[in-house]
Symmetry: C2
Subunit: 412 residues, 2 copies
Amino acid sequence: PGTIDLVFFLLPGKYIEDMIEHCKQKGVKAAVIVAAGFAEVGEEGAQAETKLRKLIKKSGIRCIGPNTIGFINMQANLVASFVLFTNWQDGPIALAAQSGIFGGAVADQLMARTVQRLGICKSVAFGNKIDLDETDFLEYTWKDPATQVIALHLEGLSRPRSFLSLANKVKREKPIIVLKPGRTDLGARASASHTGSLAVNDELLGHAFRQYGLIRADDLEEFLEYLKAFSYQPLPQGNRVGIVTFSGANGVMASDELRQHGFELADFTDSTWQRIKKFLPSWQPATHPLDLWAALGAGNRLVHEEGILSVLDDENTDAVLVILLALSNADFEGIGEIYQAARQQHPEKPLFTVMLGGEVKDKWLSDIEGLSMPVFETTRMAIKSLQAMHWYARIRDRMQPDPRLPDADHLN
Amino acid sequence: PGTIDLVFFLLPGKYIEDMIEHCKQKGVKAAVIVAAGFAEVGEEGAQAETKLRKLIKKSGIRCIGPNTIGFINMQANLVASFVLFTNWQDGPIALAAQSGIFGGAVADQLMARTVQRLGICKSVAFGNKIDLDETDFLEYTWKDPATQVIALHLEGLSRPRSFLSLANKVKREKPIIVLKPGRTDLGARASASHTGSLAVNDELLGHAFRQYGLIRADDLEEFLEYLKAFSYQPLPQGNRVGIVTFSGANGVMASDELRQHGFELADFTDSTWQRIKKFLPSWQPATHPLDLWAALGAGNRLVHEEGILSVLDDENTDAVLVILLALSNADFEGIGEIYQAARQQHPEKPLFTVMLGGEVKDKWLSDIEGLSMPVFETTRMAIKSLQAMHWYARIRDRMQPDPRLPDADHLN
């Protein structure tokens, strides 16, 4: 009695046909088909999939799968997945993965974090996409008020022109971050046997992503770090970066990364220099990257607080990178308060952190947890993420000709 | 009474002159000078350093520093450092850093690890190198029986031609891994103000490193991951890699990385395929990368054990990459035993692992601790490290013309 909104199929493939018929009679609106063994396993499976596709289309039921682990919708309090997730963190990211168990493993890793957690409001594994696909997901998350960042792991595009056309509009409001492996011939071949995805010319696809304003991550690490950066921080308004470091050696490495990713070291204003010189030892020349290790004699907390805030306050910095040495010699209480003050005083300016150290590092990471302050394992990933944000900030309002025009045919 | 082998100077710079005189009279053989404020802080400091250099030379005392945190020699049970290290792990790596506090922070981070620990038998921070420098370190560690891998963080070379000439010989016996930041103009400028190092043409230097067989890491992450790979595993004898994965999506990404780093997917022999097909579901085509997720129905332990060992046994694989999904669905007891068997049966073949997951991942990592099995956070770093080893395996026996000949003058 009553209507059924969603049916979750955990049946082997051969029983599904009958069940769809039952569902149709019951007025079911949507279905998740978990069973695998369709187009991804060869000719016979492909035939079964074609049959299922027709059946679903005729039934009018909207369908995720087959070959999926399901989906999660935090706003509807709905976990329609056969993988158990404890400790799921809600947040601004909508995350879709091509394949179920990969998406599940990534989510398992993310949700097991105790610090630097990512918040995910919607998550789905597309599977073989006989009905709902990445373009539907884009449309849904575009209008979804909980979604601020859209993240897609794809091995193929079902409707490339519709997808790009829509993405071109969506990206004006929400960044779209795409992980699309199969960048090489070897990867494309593996992808074909993994999901049955047709190989596309990756160079053309990369060009199309850039043209229509999608942010492409080259590997899983980049994908997850971009998600952290975009979901934690505002976009930079320019390419002038201030570097506060507690190790000169790391300042050198960070300068290399800045240059290689199109950034400049900011020119500090005179008043910033005056503020800094108050706690810098008299024998140390004031240089940028600003190396504060020798200044710690003036007090660990004072130097961290004034070092970070003075560079963040400087009108010539569009973003700030802080490299901390979390060593017992540098330890103090209240690093969370400093970062909280930084955020309150400059909600408009991205602040990225890299932290080296052992026990003290764990303590500091806990202390800033919940403040949406991204801490990166490597300077390279911090600067690469900032580069992705800087690129997006510049192109988000740019509109491209509609790719549904004939000249986008090569992507199909 | 008695002779003094080593004096550790924690004095401010101005007292050092007198103390050197005392040491000389006492017959002291070696000294560590911690004080900073010499050439790295400008003209006045540079003059003081020149004076100190002459004094040390005249005294005959061998000296580390100034501007250092000291050194560690595990075989002599000697920690001559003002930074406290608990839980130091001995092992095959000799690690030298240009600057003290950077080296200290890296060591603090490494030694705080509970899994995937690196063993370091000798460690030193050069500082301003008024006497002992990287060439001395190379000579010392070459002859040191405890050292198997030599790791150098450098911002400049004191005697480039002697260094390269010696490295060219040393690398035939022990790999030399170099992190030399200042790759860009911005980085070189930061380096000059950090250590007073003269800028060298980085392109020429990179060329010289390649020519004389030094392995260059581009950033700190690469440096540390290369150290793990080289200190844990044997060198690959060729470029044919076998991939065992529990996620097809990760197999696609790994294929991309292989191709981009000059590797091939190995062709498995017929007997390997027969062995694998015993536990692969009948509907799943046998493909490489070998995706074993669907095979887990045959038993989690069996599939992990047979999956890894059959590919490792294959005569067509020169190295094996295993991508594990450490999820509760895949969990089992005894992964450490599997890796131990793998090592015993194939001590000659590198075996690299990438692991995705949360709680189960922690458990598995603990279970293989102590087996010298490298687990990488990213597939990219696993394959990059393997690439560095493969390059080194090919060039280690190649001798270059002695760089002390006039045509290496451009490096000075």
